[in-house]
């Protein structure tokens, strides 16, 4: 008897006991769903993080006071780190020898921008930067120009805005040369930077960049730590550049030899590593949950198959009487168990991908299908079906045809 006919037979017998089949399926569905949903979500987030991170320029690393991502309660050593000041940044720029561009950045978050009667939501960001900001962060100018070193030196009240600001405040108006109020302070718009798109759930098009000196005059430096982004001259000199910057910065920050850095260095790669080690825990968690629920589901499958074999003893007897060999009966019940598991698995996979991506889309991540996990899910479901279906199928195959025929 062909596999196809066996599958039809299995579907037919499942249809006869719909409720029972659905209840049994549920365990498999939950097990597969949990792993697929988590893997889909993680893959979606990862894809989002990857594009988000690649927005740093190439061969670029950053210095910040704190690690970019922290797990668990922050320890006091980290908390007591002194802020990185503008002065320290300037000195690093002067003294470090191996680098191409070095950007010094301060930020004020959750601000409102105003132009005449129009105003934005209070979720825009003001960045105080220097011209090196552009290459270090892979930004480019779409219209007008960026400010110059001279304008930084003179703390000119000029700014460069993003497309979201243009959209909100300057419909059908050319913003260049207009006066804008950033958090109540007046600046002249001299340029618009090109869109960076949304990375990892947040847009970067709602920034306004002003000369760092003007920024510090307007908003002060209290409770603020400077971000430093450094671009190495080339891929080959990347490590050399990082070593040079670290050693110079340790001197500037008065870190004694043998003490740990009181600042954090990170790059695309190290961020990715941190994210990966973080998502790893989720993967293990999802793996354990799935394993347990699939195990429970497997026991359910075995139970239902045993009931099915008992109920169908007469049928087995008839089939054997008219010439079905043991192996044919075994295969029939095994395929039924595997079919049951695979239906559950497919439902779980579809639901998992749907829910994982729904959450991912909510977090602005791209839609992904974790093909590897889909495959793993299907293989595991088949394995559960075979593993837990084997005993009932064997029991069916070994039935004595005379007793089975007599069974009522």
């Amino acid at each position: 008897m062909g596999y196809f006919e066996n599958i039809l037979l299995a579907l037919n017998s499942l249809r006869t006991n719909k409720l029972r089949a659905i209840l049994t399926l549920l365990g498999i569905v939950i097990g597969v769903f949990s792993i697929i949903a988590i893997m889909t979500l993680l893959n979606a987030l990862q894809a989002g993080i990857d594009t988000g991170l690649s927005q740093l320029g190439s061969n670029t690393f950053q210095i910040q006071k704190f690690p970019a991502i922290q797990f668990g309660p922050g320890n006091s050593k980290l908390r007591n780190r002194p802020d990185i000041t503008y002065d320290e940044g300037v000195r690093l720029k002067e003294r470090a020898t191996v680098y191409k561009y070095m950007s010094l950045e301060f930020y004020e978050f959750a601000k409102t921008f105003k132009y005449e009667s129009e105003s934005t939501n209070p979720n825009f960001t003001i960045g105080g930067v220097i011209p090196d900001f552009l290459p270090c962060n892979d930004f480019s100018i779409q219209e007008g120009r960026f400010f110059t070193e001279t304008e930084v030196f003179s703390a000119s009240p000029v700014c460069v805005i993003g497309l979201e600001t243009v959209d909100k405040l300057f419909k059908n108006i050319n913003p260049i040369g207009k006066q804008i109020l950033l958090d109540g302070r007046q600046f002249t718009i001299i340029g618009i930077y090109a869109s960076k798109g949304a990375g990892f759930g947040q847009t970067q098009d709602n920034y306004a960049f002003v000369p760092i000196t003007r920024f510090l005059q307007a908003w002060g430096s209290r409770e603020k730590s400077c971000n430093i982004a450094i671009q190495a001259p080339s891929k080959e000199t990347y490590n050399e550049c990082q070593e040079n910057v670290i050693s110079v910065f340790r001197v500037i920050r008065k870190v004694k030899p043998g003490e740990a850095d009181n600042f954090e260095i990170y790059s695309n790669e190290s961020l990715m590593g941190t994210v990966n080690s973080f998502t790893q825990y989720f993967k293990y968690g999802a793996g354990v949950i799935s394993f347990i629920s699939l195990l429970a589901a497997g026991v359910g499958i075995m139970n239902i198959m045993l009931v099915s074999v008992t109920e169908r003893t007469k049928e087995i007897g008839i089939r054997k009487a008219i010439g079905a060999k043991n192996v044919v009966i075994l295969r029939q019940f095994l395929i039924e168990a595997v079919t049951l598991c695979l239906i559950g698995g497919i439902i779980g996979i579809v639901l998992g991908i749907a829910v994982g991506n729904a959450v991912g889309i909510f977090l602005n991540s791209p839609v992904v299908i974790p093909y590897d996990w889909v495959l793993i899910g299907l293989v595991v479901c088949s394995a559960v079906g075979i593993g837990f279906g084997m005993y009932p199928a064997y029991k069916a195959a070994q039935l004595n045809p005379i007793d089975a025929l007599r069974y009522e």
Binding site: M1, E5, N12, S13, T16, K314, E315, G317, I318, R319, K320, A321, I322, G323, A324, K325, N326, V327, V328, P401, I402, L405
Partner: protein, 239 residues
């Protein structure tokens, strides 16, 4: 005439706890091609055990059973299944059709197990159903058929593989008298068409349709004779 079944000194002993129960005590029977034999006996006579052995559902404890030249008493489960599939057509008292599939699929089933291709087996199954007069009931499920029709489906299933023998166990036991007579008439036709039929029954009325009647009691053959009412039609040698 060609020998189909040869039972030589068949013993069957069951172990019941500490006691051994011998149900068949040296049964010798030879059945030829195109014979119509009834095996009769009261319950407990060993009739059912003998039928199970003839039907290759069971093997004797000792003795030889030669079916169409092959010694089936030595066979294992797998080989027996194959013999049942190819050489034996069962007709049961309770019809024993699969409830969830229609008449055609029921009749097709033995051919499925013998590995025949789909088109060929559908054609054969259809022909078998036509032969028992059910050409307009092919897509009916057993519960949509009357008792007589169900038994006809079962007979079609028994015939579809062109077996050496048709083994009918109380085929009219679940039918009313009139339908029972119809079924017996059908067996008569099958016999006339050259089939070898073995009828297992405890009813004299049914056994009298057969051309040879073997009576069994306490595990031994009590009598084996030609049915006098049928003797004119066919002469059957008895050893």
């Amino acid at each position: 005439m060609e020998t189909v079944i040869e039972l030589k000194n068949i013993y069957k002993t069951y172990v019941m706890g500490s006691e051994d129960l011998t149900v068949l005590k040296g049964v010798d029977v030879t059945i030829h091609m195109n014979e119509y034999v009834a095996i009769m006996g009261p319950s407990g006579s060993g009739k059912s055990t003998l039928m199970n052995i003839i039907g290759c559902l069971d093997t004797p404890t000792s003795g030889d059973y030669i079916l169409r030249g092959q010694n089936v008493s030595e066979m294992d489960d797998q080989e027996l299944a194959e013999v049942r599939n190819k050489d034996i057509g069962f007709v049961f008292q309770t019809f024993n059709l699969l409830a969830r599939i229609d008449a055609l699929r029921n009749v097709e089933l033995p051919l499925v197990y013998s590995g025949m291709g789909k088109e060929e087996r559908l054609e054969k199954a259809e022909n078998a159903l036509i032969n028992v007069g059910l050409e307009d009931r092919m897509t009916h499920k057993p519960n949509e058929l009357s008792g007589g029709q169900r038994q006809r489906v079962a007979i079609a299933r028994a015939l579809v593989n062109n077996p050496a023998i048709i083994l009918a166990d109380e085929p009219t036991g679940n039918l009313d008298t009139r339908t029972g007579e119809e079924i017996m008439a059908l067996f008569e036709t099958l016999h006339e068409n050259g089939n070898t039929i073995i009828l297992v029954t405890h009813e004299e009325d049914i056994a009298k349709h057969a051309h040879r009647i073997i009576k069994i009691r306490d595990g031994e053959i009590e009598s084996d004779m030609i049915n006098p009412s049928k003797v004119k039609k066919t002469a059957v040698p008895v050893e």
